[in-house]
Symmetry: D2
Subunit: 127 residues, 4 copies
């Protein structure tokens, strides 16, 4: 084991996933492949590549490029992923993925859960 | 949105996954469901529950209890998960999952990759 | 470098700090020693030791036990740390540190900032 | 509390610090201000700003710009931080901070610790 390899590994760092999402993605109707694709997209976006191709994603995952295209389509249809159009100063229009809808859905889910709990407590008190 | 909910979310914290593993689990022959099960096991272990049931895992994931049992078996067969027997002072024998074989496989994979690169460089120099 | 050491290091994992707090602790009036003591307390709490002694903290930090006691007092006075009394079934009363007031202050700070921005925008529109 | 604020906070993500470093920075002779400056540098580097000014650092920390300059000098003298010169295709020479020496020192410290333990065990066996 060379020290330089280990240093390179330390420099790579970690991916952080809020436990809130880690514990609730299945409540949002996402399976493990869909969830992991969102996490890979997040890492790409953080590293400055905000519109990775299905090929880029497939290289990190256990699924084929064709399957990646299908999962991306599903994520957009499920309303947890969106493509934003960026209009920069030049006439070039670039696109980027955004996970904003995922966070919004997560917050809505949790607010609803809390509201249900409050409601249940109120109903119990009334009885 | 109540502040107390937000505080509770902050207190939950995050799950950290080394990028080294995040980028190479598919090279270790793991699909997304297998990888996520290992990550859920890791979170259970960290929180002091070192032998969660398939039912516990299923509650966090998108797969059924039966499927969880099957995936756990696969992970042990693939040599990335093991069950350790703990013999404490009392006569009770308890079991716990360990991800040591996963880390060992990851290190082996990376050492081999580096060795291949060195070998290729040496071969190119010889030509 | 032995592989078993590396596996042990992987198993230790990482400490995750929300960027929100990482970028704003100084706005909350905390210096680096105070911030790091809170982070060490958080790690102790997560690992099940919810009332570490100044000696425990000093062992991880660059400050003496006496200085640790002083910093802990300051953190409580600044309203970012509190000691909760736990009354369990037995007659024993145990104590534990809680960082709830830190998260509350952070949320308040950010809500105020956003309100100021909204106010400034409104004032500019009125002009 | 507006949902859009919360989404923005989720998108910011977290800073991950290996527990190995978190638990051993003081063994490397670093105090909390020095350690936090290294962590702030790391976040700047990850976000693509690999040569932040003392002013940039001071804005995130509780220390003045002058003090930041002094701490940066100390870190370089202590051999945990270095400035790398980047020679790109154009004639422009750019500089960037690197934390490689920090990781190297950490690895050395741990290898030494393990060696001492092995030695102690051997000596005890001999007795």
């Amino acid at each position: 084991m060379k020290k330089d390899d280990m240093i390179a590994w330390f420099e790579q760092g970690s991916v952080s996933i809020p436990k809130l999402l880690f514990n609730h993605y299945s409540d949002l109707g996402l399976d493990e492949t869909e969830f992991m694709m969102l996490m890979h997209l997040n890492v790409f976006i953080d590293s400055g590549e905000s519109f990775p191709t299905p090929h880029d994603l497939s290289a990190k995952m256990s699924v084929s490029t064709t399957k990646c295209m299908e999962v991306l389509r599903n994520l957009i249809q499920k309303g947890v992923l969106t493509i934003e159009q960026l209009d920069d100063s030049s006439s070039v229009i670039s696109e980027q993925y955004s996970l904003k809808p995922l966070w919004r859905k997560l917050i809505n889910l949790l607010m609803q859960e809390n509201q249900n709990e409050v409601q249940q407590e109120q109903e119990q008190e009334e009885i």
